[in-house]
C-alpha cells in the first residue's frame, strides 16, 4: 500500500548535530527510523519519542518530533503514561540493552505484558557504552570488560525470549547495517497494534567492536542469518539451499537437494499464530549452531491496553448518572443544614 508522503525523512531531523562516535551503529538506526516515519506518512507533531539513559537514548534529541529524554530504565513507564494519556500520539520508545533489560527490566516486561501500543526499539550492543565499557545483561558468558576483567560468570538475556516470556505479541530482529531490513521491520512494528519490540543488533565501535560481526558481516550474513517472512518457507544461505525443519521437538538445518529434501519439506514461517512455541525456538537460534533469525518473528493481534482503557471509560460514562464532580459529591449519604 502506497502512502502519500506529506513529510520527507529530513523533516524528522532536528537541528542538533548528531554526537555519536563515528562508525557507531546508532547513526544508521536514526536514519532508518526517520525514513520509516516518512514512509509511514507520520506527521512530526503527532510523534512522541521517549528514551531512557545510555548512548541510544540520546536519539530523542536528534528527532524533530516531540521528545522526552528521561531517566535510566524508566522509558517504558513514561512512554506508557504518554500513550494512555493521549492514545492519538504515535509513541516510540528508544532504549538499549542496559536501559531496558537491567535497570528498566521491570517496566519493560510489564509494558509488553499489558500490550500498550508502543514501538520499542532496543539497541543491543551487549555493552555499556556511555559509562565506557562495562558488561551488560546481554553480554555473552565469560565476556571480558572493564567491570569483568576475568570474564563474566553470568548468563545473558535474549531480548526476544524475554519478550515471549512477558507474553509479547510482536518481536522482530534486525541489523544496524542492513538499512533496508531496518526500514521494513520498523514500519511493520509501527503498524502493529500493541507493544512491539524490535531488537537491533547494533555495533559499538569503541567498546565492543564487531560483537555481532560473525553474523552481520556482508560476506557471511546470508549463511549465518535467516530472514523470516510470514507465509514463506524458512530458507537461507547464499545459494538459498539451506532450510529449517523440525526433527521431533527440535529445529534442524537441512540442505535442499540432499537426503531427498525438497523445498516442500521446509517449515513455513507463521508469525501470526498465537502459539509462541515455534517463535521462541526461532528467537533462541544462535550462531554457530544455527543461523540467527531476523525479520518479524512474531506478530499476533491482541487486546491493546490503551484502547481498552478508553473503551471502559466510554462504557461507564454511557450509563453513569454522575456527569460532574457535583453529581458525585451529593450522591449517597448527604444531609442539608438550613
Amino acid at each position: 500500500m502506497e502512502v502519500k508522503q506529506e513529510y520527507t525523512f529530513s523533516d524528522f531531523k532536528s537541528e542538533l548535530s548528531v554526537r555519536w562516535c563515528p562508525g557507531c551503529g546508532d547513526h544508521a538506526i536514526l536514519n532508518t527510523v526517520q525514513k520509516s516515519m516518512a514512509e509511514l506518512g507520520l506527521k512530526p507533531h503527532e510523534v512522541a519519542v521517549i528514551s531512557g539513559i545510555g548512548c541510544s537514548s540520546r536519539f530523542t534529541y536528534y528527532m524533530n518530533t516531540f521528545g522526552f529524554h528521561t531517566i535510566h530504565g524508566r522509558a517504558s513507564a513514561i512512554a506508557t503514561g504518554v500513550k494512555i494519556a493521549n492514545p492519538q500520539l504515535k509513541v516510540w520508545q528508544i532504549t538499549g540493552d542496559g536501559d531496558a533489560l537491567a535497570i528498566g527490566g521491570n517496566h519493560f516486561i510489564h509494558a509488553i505484558r499489558r500490550n500498550v501500543n508502543l514501538n520499542m526499539i532496543l539497541f543491543n550492543n551487549q555493552i555499556y557504552g556511555l559509562t565506557k565499557g562495562q558488561y551488560s545483561p546481554t553480554s555473552k558468558h565469560g565476556f571480558v570488560s572493564k567491570s569483568s576483567p576475568f570474564g563474566t560468570v553470568e548468563h545473558p538475556f535474549r531480548p526476544g525470549e524475554l519478550t515471549i516470556g512477558a507474553r509479547g505479541n510482536f518481536f522482530a530482529r534486525t541489523i544496524d547495517k542492513d538499512l533496508k531490513l531496518c526500514v521494513d521491520v520498523f514500519k511493520k512494528a509501527a503498524q502493529h497494534e500493541g507493544a512491539s519490540v524490535v531488537e537491533v543488533l547494533q555495533n559499538c565501535v569503541i567498546y565492543n567492536d564487531k560483537t555481532h560481526e560473525a553474523i552481520t558481516d556482508k560476506e557471511h550474513r546470508e549463511d549465518r542469518t535467516i530472514l523470516l517472512e510470514h507465509g514463506e518457507p524458512m530458507i537461507f544461505g547464499k545459494n538459498r539451499d539451506k532450510g529449517l525443519i523440525l526433527d521431533g521437538m527440535t529445529l534442524k538445518i537441512v540442505t535442499i537437494g540432499e537426503n531427498n529434501i525438497t523445498k516442500d519439506d521446509i517449515l513455513v514461517h507463521n508469525a501470526e499464530t498465537e502459539d509462541s512455541t515455534m517463535h521462541l525456538k526461532l528467537i533462541n537460534m544462535e550462531y554457530p549452531e544455527f543461523p540467527v533469525a531476523t525479520g518479524v518473528v512474531r506478530s499476533v493481534k491482541g487486546l491493546v491496553y490503551d484502547e481498552e482503557v478508553e473503551k471502559q471509560i466510554a462504557t461507564v460514562q454511557s450509563t453513569s448518572k454522575i456527569k460532574s464532580f457535583y453529581d458525585l459529591a451529593v450522591e449517597g449519604d448527604v444531609w442539608e443544614v438550613k
Binding site: H45, T60, F66, I71, G81, N106, Q312, A329, W335
Partner: protein
C-alpha cells in the same frame, strides 16, 4: 425514649467500638458516625486497626477499634473514651488504658469465658478487678445470647446470626445516646436487599440491642449530646483519603484537564488509588503500576502528554520515586505527589501515623531540586489542599508534594459540599508563542514558569529531558554559568509561589505568652489544647502551617511577635530544624512524639502550661 432514666446533657463525647478484626467494628463505628453527623453533631473519627489482616482471634494483636468523637466544636477523635464497647476480653484489655475515669464499659459477657480471658492475657477470671475498673459504669450484656434470641424466627445459619452481633451493640449505643435507628435500618435494607434473611437478622438484632437499652435503663443513664452550629449547606462525611481523591477530581474539572493517577498500592495511601479507579464516569485514567517508580513515571508521561498527572504513595514509596521527582523538577512539568505519611524508617509502622517524611519531601533528591510542599491539617481539608496542590502544579509548572498522614487519611469528619464559587478556576499556562519563534524554556515574567506545550501541537515539536537545559533555547547545555542561572531560576520559581498563597493566621489569644507552632495533621489536637487553655485563662496562641515550601510570606512577622515558641511535631524535630534554618534568630522549644499515635490534648496542655510557667 429513655423515659424514666436519667438523661445527661453533654457537649462532646467519645465512643469506641472494639473487637476482633473480623467483628465489623469499623462498619459499626462508621454507621454510628453517620447517624451522629446527620443529627447535627460535629464528628471526628479514627479507626485503629492491626497491621495483620488476620491476627490470631481473641488476642490483643487482633483487636480492631474505631473511635467516634462527636458533639459541639469537635476537632479531634478524642484522647480518651467515654464509652467503650468491647466485644471480647482482648478488646477490653487493649482499650482499658484509653478510658476516661468514670466512663461506661459495655462488654459481651458471653465472650468472657476462661479461655478467652487467658488468650487476652488476663491472669484471673475477673478482668474488672484485675484492671482496676471498679470505678467505671460496667454493663455486662450477654450480647451473643441476646443476638441469638433477637434473630429467632429467621431461617438462617448460626454463623450469619453471630456475625450480626455488631448490630446489637450498635442498637444499644443508639439507645444510650438517644439516637434514632432509622438511618442504619435504611443502610441495612440497601446493603442486604438481595439477601432477605441476612437483612432481617440485622434489622431484628439492631432493634433488639436498642430494646435491651430500654430494658436496662434503670441501671444506667443515657446522654444527650448537643448539636453544633454549622454553616448552611449540604453535608456528608468524608475521610482524608477520599477527600484527597475528590480534591483532585475538582481540580481536573476546574482546569479542563483529564486526571491521570499512576500509583502502586501501599498502606495507608491505597484508598486514593481505589477511589479514583472507581471514577471512570468522570473520565479519570487510573494506572495501577508494576511498582512505585512506574507509578510516578507514568504520571510524568501523562503530564508531558498534557494531562493532570498525579501519583500517590506513602514514605517507602516516596523514597523510590525520588529520582523521578527530580526529572519533573528538571523538565518543569506539573505533577502532584501525594504522600500519606506513616511511621518509619523502612517498613516502619504501616498502619500508624507520623510526620517524619518532611525532610524527605523537602530534600530527598539529588542535586538542587526544589519543589512546592503543602500539608493538609484535617481529614476534610485534604480536599482543599489536594485542589490547591494541583492548581499550583499546573499554573506554576512545578511538581508539588502534598503531605497527609495515616491519621488524616483514615479520620472522618463531616464535610460541607463546596458550592459554585468556593474554588477558583485553574488556568494551564498554554503557550501563546508563535511556532516559528517557539522557545520551550521561555519564562512567564511573574511566575517564572515555562509554557506548557502539548504533544500534537503542530510546529511546536521540541525535546525535554533530565539533562540541564540552555536557559534560552532549551537545548542541552553543560555550560557552568547557564547551570547556575537555571538552578537559581528553578528555586526562584518555587519561592515566588509565596505570592500566590494565603498568609499565616494566628488562632487563640493573639496577645499570647506562648506561640504554639504546628504543621499538617496535628492541627485538631493543637487547636483543642490552645482553646481549652484559653478558656482557663492561659495566654496561648497557635500558628499552624499548611504551606511548607515556600513558607507563607508573613511567617517571620508572626514568629517575632512571641517571646516563647514551641514547635510540636510527630517526629524528632524536622519542621523546627527547617524554621531554625530559615529564621535563625528566634529561640524555639520543641515537643516531639513518635509513638505512631496522634498527640493527646492532655499532654499538649501540660507541656504548654509548663512552658508558660517556666
Amino acid at each position: 425514649m429513655g423515659n424514666g432514666s436519667k438523661v445527661i446533657e453533654v457537649e462532646q463525647l467519645a465512643v469506641r467500638f472494639s473487637g476482633d478484626s473480623g467483628d465489623g467494628m469499623q462498619l459499626t463505628g462508621t454507621l454510628f458516625s453517620h447517624t451522629s453527623a446527620i443529627y447535627g453533631n460535629d464528628i471526628s473519627t479514627f479507626p485503629d486497626f492491626p497491621a495483620d489482616i488476620r491476627a490470631p482471634l481473641g488476642t490483643i494483636g487482633g483487636v480492631s477499634g474505631f473511635q467516634v468523637h462527636f458533639g459541639n466544636k469537635v476537632a479531634t477523635p478524642g484522647d480518651y473514651t467515654d464509652v467503650l464497647i468491647a466485644m471480647n476480653p482482648a478488646a477490653l484489655k487493649a482499650n482499658a488504658k484509653f478510658m476516661k475515669p468514670g466512663g461506661t464499659i459495655i462488654f459481651d459477657a458471653d465472650s468472657f469465658d476462661a479461655k478467652s480471658l487467658e488468650k487476652a492475657g488476663y491472669r484471673t477470671e475477673d478482668p474488672i478487678t484485675e484492671d482496676k475498673l471498679e470505678g467505671y459504669n460496667i454493663i455486662a450484656a450477654p450480647i451473643t445470647t441476646l443476638t441469638k434470641e433477637g434473630a429467632k424466627g429467621i431461617d438462617i445459619d448460626n454463623r450469619s446470626i453471630l456475625r450480626s452481633k455488631n448490630m446489637f451493640a450498635l442498637g444499644l449505643v443508639y439507645w444510650l445516646f438517644n439516637r434514632p435507628i432509622e438511618h442504619t435500618e435504611e443502610f441495612i435494607k440497601k446493603k442486604f436487599g438481595k439477601k432477605p434473611e441476612i437483612m432481617a437478622v440485622n434489622l431484628q438484632v439492631l432493634q433488639a440491642g436498642f430494646n435491651y437499652g430500654e430494658n436496662i435503663q434503670a441501671m444506667t443513664s443515657s446522654y444527650h449530646i448537643l448539636p453544633s452550629k454549622v454553616k448552611k449547606g449540604i453535608y456528608r462525611n468524608l475521610n482524608g483519603n477520599k477527600a484527597t481523591a475528590w480534591g483532585l477530581l475538582l481540580a481536573a474539572e476546574k482546569s479542563g484537564l483529564e486526571l491521570f493517577l499512576g500509583s502502586y498500592p501501599i498502606t495507608p495511601a491505597t484508598e486514593i488509588l481505589q477511589e479514583l479507579a472507581g471514577r471512570k464516569d468522570l473520565g479519570v485514567k487510573v494506572f495501577q503500576a508494576e511498582d512505585e517508580i512506574a507509578g510516578i513515571c507514568t504520571a510524568i508521561g501523562a503530564s508531558f502528554a498534557g494531562r493532570l498527572g498525579v501519583t500517590s504513595t506513602s514514605g517507602p514509596g516516596l523514597a523510590l520515586k525520588s529520582e523521578a521527582i527530580g526529572l519533573a523538577v528538571m523538565a518543569e512539568l506539573p505533577l502532584v505527589i501525594i504522600n500519606v505519611q506513616r511511621g518509619g524508617p523502612s517498613t516502619g509502622l504501616p498502619t500508624k501515623t507520623e510526620q517524619s517524611d518532611l525532610f524527605q519531601a523537602l530534600y530527598g533528591r539529588n542535586g538542587e531540586s526544589p519543589m512546592v510542599v503543602l500539608a493538609a491539617s484535617t481529614p476534610v481539608n485534604c480536599f482543599d489542599y489536594a485542589f490547591y496542590a494541583a492548581k499550583i502544579a499546573v499554573e506554576h509548572m512545578v511538581p508539588v508534594m502534598l503531605l497527609t498522614d495515616g491519621y488524616l487519611a483514615n479520620g472522618t469528619q463531616q464535610w460541607r459540599i463546596p458550592e459554585e464559587g468556593d474554588f477558583p478556576k485553574i488556568v494551564p499556562p498554554y503557550t501563546q508563542q508563535k511556532p516559528t519563534e517557539f522557545k520551550p524554556y521561555l519564562r512567564n515574567k511573574e511566575k517564572l514558569n515555562r509554557d506548557w506545550v502539548i504533544p500534537g501541537m503542530e510546529g511546536f515539536e521540541h525535546r525535554i529531558g533530565g539533562l540541564e537545559k540552555d536557559a534560552v533555547t532549551g537545548n542541552i547545555s553543560h555550560d557552568g554559568k547557564n547551570h547556575q542561572l537555571m538552578t537559581q531560576l528553578r528555586q526562584e520559581k518555587v519561592d515566588r509561589v509565596a505570592q500566590y498563597i494565603p498568609e499565616l493566621k494566628i488562632e487563640g489569644d493573639a496577645d499570647a505568652e506562648l506561640l504554639v507552632v504546628g504543621w499538617g495533621g496535628t492541627y485538631g489536637h493543637l487547636l483543642t489544647a490552645v482553646n481549652e487553655l484559653n478558656k482557663s485563662g492561659k495566654k496561648v496562641a497557635l500558628a499552624h502551617f499548611n504551606y511548607i515550601m515556600p513558607l507563607p510570606r508573613n511567617s517571620e512577622d508572626i514568629l517575632k511577635r512571641y517571646k516563647k515558641i514551641v514547635v510540636c511535631e510527630l517526629n524528632m524535630g524536622q519542621f523546627v530544624g527547617y524554621l531554625r534554618m530559615h529564621f535563625p534568630k528566634f529561640q524555639y522549644n520543641q515537643y516531639n512524639k513518635v509513638q505512631g499515635q496522634p498527640f493527646t490534648v492532655e499532654e499538649l496542655k501540660n507541656e504548654f502550661v509548663k512552658l508558660i510557667e517556666a
